[in-house]
């Protein structure tokens, strides 16, 4: 723009710096994975891909993953839609509390669900033994069905949150218009409401799809014979038999291609169907009577119990006595005291690493969203695309990329504090940028112009006007990012050392080692931390809509 010559240099250099950072810390690691997938000891080869497609042991994991993902997405939608429908259309006692509990179950560390279902339905689980006592063989939690159960319960809240957001934009007059034309009840839900919510449903189901596809913790813990593709990547990279980084990289590339394809298909569909709505009058819930009322309550509470039971089990288990890692009779604080030193170390690491990642994350997110919203151009367009890369690349693969790229000169970062911070920030950035961008878009450009017309410089406008007015939104986004940072597992799995291990990594290693008591104690602490953060979010968010 003419007449604004001086401001451009500052913002342009920030845009250049961030773009360079992305190229070096996100794109370059992925390129090394790509190179690894087609070379072995420096010579070009397609062996990795050939091995993968030659044995059912390997390519079977891809079909397994796709099967799990499709089933979980469909199931999660089928469960979440009625849930959001009931919560919006009908007066439900304790509506707000229920929504907070559903949110809490979504925000709980993903693999804790799997772990506590082992405590319930595993070989030595509470329910399993109880049923065995009366001579019944309980269904096994291990394998396909178990993964399906755990992931569905985990991801319903995610889609539910999306749907509730969409419901808030539906104006009651649309429903009344349908009713005036004689379309009511289920017919209305199908013909009027479903098309209105479809873009959201598609957007939400992609997120579920990608999460389910990339999820590592759940199938690792309870998959047993049923191996999914992230588990295959992990085991071939860590090397159960021998380390084969060429093979692991090839599988990683296959995963990236699948998620990318999904992302593009979804974007294509959603872009053609987007429309914007704002509700002048949101939907007023009505009071149901009789058996319908009971039915609705039964549905909601059954889901709540299923979703929250795992959390409760973990907390209770953490107070049980253990012997050689397994639970025995009686309750005490033994699990907490015996691993006191570990707990202190893990909690300290979680805070130092997590908070560093958070600060980095928020600063970059604010700058990037400002640049992409207010300074549209070629460079910021490129930057916008770059920031979305970690959105479609599973965390495990980001981790593999970072460890391959930075275990060799020019920059060796393996085993450092910095690589943990980087990994966590990179992983979470697409989400934080999206929510900050949404805030930035709502922020009227004329407010900024008003500041400039009053003689304020660009940095002054940013620091005194833009950031303070967006602060509540940025802050609640930051708390949400904090929660996902402290519960992140797959990205940092390859990157941690004993001195940079965080709580979620600690839980994972304890479960794998069979130290059930310590695992439960750590999980309870992480859960507590999550809940406190969420309560903080409710405070700072002031009841505003929560974006994931």
């Amino acid at each position: 723009m003419k007449g604004q010559g001086r401001g451009i240099d500052g913002w342009m250099s920030i845009a250049l710096a961030i773009t360079a950072g992305y190229l070096f810390f996100v794109v370059w690691p992925l390129v090394t994975v790509l190179i690894n997938s087609v070379t072995k000891n420096g010579a070009p080869t397609l062996d990795g891909f050939r091995t993968f497609f030659s044995s059912k042991l390997y390519y079977g994991t891809l079909t397994n993953s796709l099967l799990v993902t499709v089933c979980v997405t469909v199931l999660a939608l089928l469960v979440a839609f009625p849930l959001s429908y009931f919560m919006t259309m009908f007066r439900i006692r304790g509506n707000r509390a229920i929504q907070i509990l559903i949110l809490a179950s979504m925000m709980s560390p993903p693999f804790i669900g799997a772990y506590s279902w082992i405590l319930l339905l595993g070989n030595n689980g509470i329910v399993t033994r109880g049923l065995r006592g009366v001579g019944i063989d309980s269904p096994s939690i291990y394998g396909f069905a178990g993964i399906l159960l755990v992931l569905t319960l985990q991801l319903v809240p995610l889609i539910f949150t999306y749907l509730m957001g969409a419901w808030r934009t539906v104006d009651v007059s649309l429903l009344e218009a349908a009713e005036s034309m004689g379309v009511t009840g289920w017919k209305r839900a199908l013909k009027v409401i479903t098309p209105l919510l479809l873009p959201t449903v598609l957007g939400g189901s992609l997120l579920v799809f990608v999460r389910a596809f990339a999820d590592f913790g759940t199938p690792m813990l309870i998959g047993q014979g049923f191996r999914t593709i992230p588990v295959l990547i992990y085991s071939s990279f860590v090397g159960e038999v021998s380390i084969d980084s060429n093979f692991a990289a090839a599988v990683a590339m296959i995963v990236v291609v699948v998620t990318l394809a999904l992302f593009l298909v979804q974007k294509f569909i959603v872009d053609r169907r987007t429309f914007s709505m704002t509700a002048m009058r949101p939907i007023e819930p009505v009071q149901l009577r009789g058996w319908r009322n009971w039915g609705v309550y039964a549905y909601i509470y059954t889901f709540l119990i299923l979703a929250l039971a795992p959390l409760l089990v973990v907390v209770v288990s953490s107070f049980r006595n253990t012997l050689y890692g397994q639970f025995t009779h009686g309750f005490s604080l033994q699990s907490y005291f015996s691993s006191q030193r570990d707990i202190t170390r893990l909690v300290t690491n979680t805070f130092t690493i997590g908070l560093s990642a958070l600060v980095l994350l928020v600063v970059i997110a604010v700058l990037v969203s400002y640049l992409t919203v207010r300074r549209r151009g070629l460079l910021t367009g490129v930057l916008d695309t770059l920031t979305m890369v970690p959105y479609v690349v599973p965390g495990l693969i980001i981790g593999i990329g970072l460890i391959t790229a930075f275990s060799q000169p020019p920059l060796v970062l393996t085993g450092t504090f910095a690589i943990m911070v980087l990994a966590l920030a990179i992983r979470r950035l697409p989400y934080t940028i999206r929510s900050t961008t949404a805030l930035m878009l709502q922020f009227s450009p004329s407010i900024e112009e008003a500041a400039i017309s009053l003689g304020a410089s660009k940095p002054r406008t940013l620091l005194q006007v833009i950031i303070p007015s967006l602060a509540p939104g940025i802050l609640s986004g930051a708390v949400l990012s904090w929660v996902t940072i402290i519960t992140e597992l797959s990205t940092t799995l390859f990157l941690y050392t004993i001195s940079t291990q965080t709580l979620s990594l600690g839980i994972y290693t304890q479960v794998i080692r069979g130290q059930m008591g310590t695992a439960a104690a750590l999980a309870t602490i992480l859960l507590g931390l999550t809940m406190v953060s969420l309560m903080l979010l409710m405070r700072v968010g002031g009841g505003r809509e929560i974006r994931v």
Binding site: M1, K2, G3, Q4, G5, R6, G7, S444, S446, I447, E449, A450, A451, I452, S453, L454, G455, A456, S457, R460, Q464, V465, P468, S469, A471
Partner: protein, 361 residues
Amino acid sequence: MTRIALQSLRKEYAGQVAIPDLSLEIGDGEFFTLLGPSGCGKTTLLRMIAGFNSIEGGTISFDGTVINDRPPAERNIGMVFQNYALFPQMTAAKNVGFGLQTRRIPRAEADARIARALESVRMAHLGDRLPGQMSGGQQQRVALARALVIEPAVLLMDEPLSNLDAKLRVEMRETIRQVQHEAGITTVYVTHDQEEAMAVSDRIAVMNLGVVQQVGTPAEIYRRPANRFVAEFIGKTNLLERDLRWQDGRATVEMGPGVSIDVTGLVDPATQGRVQVSVRPEAVSVAAEGVPAEVLDETFLGSHSQVRARLASGEMIEFLEFSQQSSSLKPGVQLRLAIETHQLTVFDPDSGASVARGASA
């Protein structure tokens, strides 16, 4: 006190020409309004003066100094926005003080000026309110105080009243007029509301498709529209196609069977043949003699009624009648209409330009 001169301005958006070639002069302390339908380029032009839009050609100067390359922060402008654009996290007083702070005005002086500015818009009692706690009208008063307190060279207002309700709009436009008059600041005001433009402006530029159609005082624009667009955009009018004839040095048109009227002095002697005659509703009245017409319907509007009637030619004509007489104007009633000749304007049917002598489009 600042004179603004716009010379051969050109604006393009991605190859699309929004303003082809525009020149205007705005005088010292003048209240100047850019008026036109949405998309006519009025806001674009205002934002070019403010420095928020780029300039693809021509110059903008304040008091003879070209300011094209001066960033908005250095143009010494005060701007009032359609959506108020108050800083949501700052109180009314803090908002007003923001521009003084960037100018490093000492605290005591700043406080006094903030108080005076809030006083002038009658908001002194609400200085500690946050924007969210104020009504739209109050927010816009604060925004006006914020723009004025820095004593800008030029005050720019972009549809400042369009988010307010009808009653408040009238009240606010009086405040704006009064405050501007007291401060004596050259003001450029953008609106699509012709009534509002007439009420506040010293002069108005009517714009359409990026081109200035006419510049003049409210009365000039209403009484002597330069073309059909201005006549139809400002107020209501009836356009009737007629033959203009010259008889004994007088221009006449036949309005109805046997009823001819003189078109006075304004008509260019070269004009004859098909023309469009613009008849304002208030120039028509029911009379004993005149053009025969049949009442179609009547809309009661309080102090007066708006009547639609059909002429013998089949054309529709709209006029106003004071309410006490309207009861006789039932649909189907035959009546005669007198037309006041000195309020007529005549347009070329093809170009739409006024054929009034001396009028220029």
